[in-house]
Symmetry: C3
Subunit: 450 residues, 3 copies
């Protein structure tokens, strides 16, 4: 036994305690099989634990973004993150959940062909005090726990957008975009895969926890917005890139650690089951691989920035960790730890090259969300083919393109409409003054002189 | 199945993996019933998970309050939060636990009539390596896990007080108050409901996770203190309210997210059981409703401050989320998501109006603890009647009044005694200088110029 | 029942819901015994939950250290913490895990005599979708969950070192040291106890969760480094100790709360099992004792600094809490809450005296890591004898000495080699300028004037 020493050193050694305990408590020999009610409870528990971990990613994004924007826009960034999460919670309840999981009630399409547009209805939880005979799906988990887990994914997608467009977008148009994104755009494309839609049935698309369905979607929406919104004033002036350093790298570091923590729930919970030995072992593999990929992404960025710039770059290391996490998200189960490490490291490398590449194109992404979530989301989705024999390269590519086209085009149109109707960019004066004073009339750090 | 697409996309589809795994591992067909030992373990696990989440709320309060006080009082606010949590831990062990849960050994009253004063004894955990025949209550959970969960509630009550009285109260008198609050005041009134006391038996009082028992209690204690202590110097001068902006809104935002996270444990754990399908589904409902109410509270405050002040107010949005959480705490189970959303939204609205209302009365509550925890605690306790047919309006109101009167009066007397004996307010010079330099001789941010 | 009142107040009373639910769902009367598959799953779940909590300690260390260094070294401290965790993750996979848990394949020694040097091989997880007949150890838990839990302990050891040596050590030599520490030094000595090595078999050494194996090891490595590295410039000048206050005590407080939270996983998970009533009750005891010791350590430091210095010291209170945690780590199970409180309080007292003691010796430990982790690690390891009758005083002392000698000497030699080959200390100019500007070319708080 791996921990023989540890166990033998304590009074209640496992071989003495756990197994006999069964006998001592039970009616004769303990059976081995997990009762089906217990399976259901354990699956439910996985969603609840996974869900609260993914919830905490909202705090991670808030701290990462608040740390990477300049001091004059910090309070606004906090407000946006609080608001977008709240909007996602409401919209996913009102529209998103059934649009994403129509359970056969497709508005367009069928389960056989794979659907294209889900059902329109608000989410309904199972009744209070329900028994096995009345639960929505006895082979699965409670609907409430499923909703709780899934709403957090919807909110995560929205969080990705806010960082890229920081420091110059108007609050309310941004929140309107988030409303449509979380209520309609995200759920529709997610239904194509996770709701049993056409990408799942016709193209055999594999995306375990959402490198494409969540991360690249946030990335495409952000890219469309960044293109229309344009760069921050002074960012690309006189043919040079002017760095605008984040105001609080400690909080950015904290945010990254929180995101890393939350990702165990994000990927591990996506196993969707923990009620059998097989599933529990798989969840464990996923935890380990997720950690390995994040570590490798951080180290790759650390070494690469040292080589390229002669100095390591903390923000690149942070984004490298996140890049590793996004990269392993499409397939955190089938790789061994070696492949997980490599897949994550490639993610870290991508980010180091992608950030200056975007700057070359004068696409201003304040926190590096597009490199991390879009580029590495694509990479992770392709990397499924390395270790999962069920994946087809063409199916992955086609699905990336279809999801990307749908989200980019619909986001682009939506941003253009918002631009035409309300405007999406604050005035140059407000931007120079900072959104905190201009739009909120308060400052995040009012006492500290800049 | 909701996640058909997701599952079908991974190698180990649930229908292939989970159910057959049972058969493959077990002796013939798997039984459905959860073994009673497993029930006990799962209940225990719920308390442990719920407990560590509620523990983390201590960090949430610390960050929220440290972010909302001025820079010169930040280190003191951190110290108070660390100290009050520690005091609560010790006092609940020494006195509180058995005072709250006398298990029939009432000092005044009986289980039949409902008790008025619990038992005096230190808490005792179950022995090491205990078996089913020796646990304190085989139908429930381990005593250790129960203590762990309950001590966190006691500490939460104390946390509420520290924010309201910040920036002018003396450290040691404050800590003496906390000692009595956590050791005596909180447990006595909590026994009236959760210990099976007279509010429970005679008035049918319903308070699922403590809108009254925890939150309003902290609020009443804070209100009594704020009245006696008086407002900060310069807060209400020349008939005007002078805003004293928080020094670090990023940390206040972080604190709010942490509190939101912890609340899943606070409300979810209060189901007190997770070992049946019914209980696991109920815990899931509670998680979802808790999230919905928080989101709605934040959005209500966002929209309302935009309308009232033409600018959204970040601190109101943060307090709006907390208001939603407090509001749903008395009954997070019976509402559907729609009612949870409405109950939370009303909480957010209450806060937006209550903060200036308190200012009008010249009651200086630094962080908005009284609006959030007292006003919304009352609202949440009344709102039980909306969705829970077992609640009686009169029983709720009477219980609110009895608990409020007991806590407010006993706190008021205690504050007055402390004021007479040691004084509770720092000198005007110390207040102007800041508690960090005056009482601690250190600063939270020594390098940053104010 | 403890929570009679609470339960009776909700619709689904436990006695009504949980037990009948079993009967209603099941085939006749529910059996009591936990099925062996369920035991395995619950043990696995304990490791996963414990593991993510210990993971989060990495964030706690990062915030604690970032808060306690001066502003000019904060970004570097964040980078170091992110990098060392990542390195530990990779090295433990490549070498550490099998070196620590050779499962009989000792390179030197045998299971009978107890081993001295483990096996050299990379870690291998169980296959995807594994069944009961193929898991590595059916009586235990999934290998993946075990690895996940153990890798976090390895990383924790590394985290301890970074704080002590902050503000003057060169990045890359530090990371090389961490590479050897996490890949070789830590796993070898850990194998002596937890891998079933000679300290376990020959000396009956008891160290439940690692007061010695983790904390003192980090402390010894830090002490060796601090001696060779020397104090920060100006710290001990003209025969006086010049305080260099931390730049952000709020983050230090947050870090302490996060560490406290993580410690529930650290100690609770070290029970290694949760699949029986006995184990679940023991985990509960551990949670409670861990909390009690931390609270007592904080309060002891609070009162003692008030007495000694007439002013309480926030950083001492934070370190007092951590000291309590380290002190209870070697034996969090057998004490009652009273002893846990005393053991923790002694830890808090040790720290208050040890910090100035180290300053007297001109050993410059920036964050107090040596008092907390080394001194209290030793105290905690000895304190096992108070409540655990299986502990022998001589066995504990001998083991402390052997582990200490091995780690201190090997670390000392390694630091000396690094000093000779690459140098380990930045130039005086770079130190005055700050590592952030000198080594990273960025600042943590670029906008805030110092």
């Amino acid at each position: 036994m791996k921990t023989f020493g540890k166990i033998s050193g304590i009074a209640a050694a496992l071989t003495v305690a756990a197994l006999p305990a069964v006998a001592q408590d039970g009616a004769g020999a303990a059976p081995s099989a997990v009762p089906t009610d217990t399976v259901w409870i354990l699956n439910t528990l996985l969603f609840l634990i996974g869900g609260f971990l993914v919830f905490f990613m909202a705090a991670g994004f808030a701290m990462l973004e608040a740390g990477l924007v300049r001091g004059k826009n910090v309070a606004m960034q906090c407000l946006k993150n609080m608001a977008l999460f709240s909007i996602a919670s409401v919209m996913y309840y009102l529209i998103g959940y059934n649009l994403m999981y129509p359970l056969g009630n497709w508005s367009i399409g069928t389960d056989e062909t794979g659907g294209y547009l889900g059902a329109f209805a608000t989410a309904v939880l199972e009744a209070v005090g329900i028994g096995a005979d009345s639960v929505d799906d006895y082979g699965y988990a409670s609907t409430g726990s499923d909703f709780f887990f899934q709403v957090m994914f919807c909110a995560t997608t929205a969080s990705i957008v806010s960082g890229a467009l920081a420091e110059r977008i108007k609050l309310w148009p941004f929140l309107i975009f988030i409303t449509i994104l979380t209520g309609i755009i995200y759920p529709i494309q997610a239904s194509w895969k996770w709701g049993g839609g056409f990408l799942d049935t016709q193209f055999g698309f594999l995306d375990f926890a959402g490198s494409t369905v969540v991360h690249s979607v946030g990335g495409w929406a952000a890219l469309a917005g960044a293109l229309i919104l344009g760069p921050r004033l002074g960012k690309y002036k006189d043919g040079r890139v002017h760095p605008m350093p984040g105001s609080n790298l400690t909080l950015a570091t904290l945010g990254t650690f929180i995101l890393w923590l939350g990702w165990f729930g994000f990927n591990g919970g996506s196993q969707l089951a923990m009620g059998s030995i097989s599933d529990a072992a798989d969840v464990s593999r996923i935890f380990v691989n997720t950690n390995a990929a994040a570590a490798a992404g951080a180290l790759a960025a650390l070494v690469l920035t040292q080589i390229l710039y002669k100095k390591p770059d903390l923000t690149m290391v942070l984004n490298g960790a996140l890049a590793g996490l996004v990269s392993i998200t499409a397939e955190p189960l089938t790789p061994g730890m070696g492949w997980a490490t490599i897949i994550g490291a490639v993610g870290g490398i991508i980010v180091v090259f992608a950030v200056p590449f975007l700057d070359k194109l004068k696409i201003d992404d304040v926190v590096g969300a597009i490199p991390v979530h879009l580029f590495c989301g694509i990479w992770g989705t392709i990397a499924v083919c390395i270790t999962n024999p069920e994946a087809s390269f063409s199916g992955q590519i086609i699905s990336i393109v279809i999801v990307g086209a749908f989200v980019f085009v619909s986001s682009f149109v939506l941003w253009m409409i918002l631009k035409a109707v309300t405007g999406i960019r604050v005035s140059a004066d407000d931007e120079m003054l900072g959104l905190d004073k201009a739009e909120l009339g308060m400052e995040a750090y009012p006492e500290f002189k800049s």
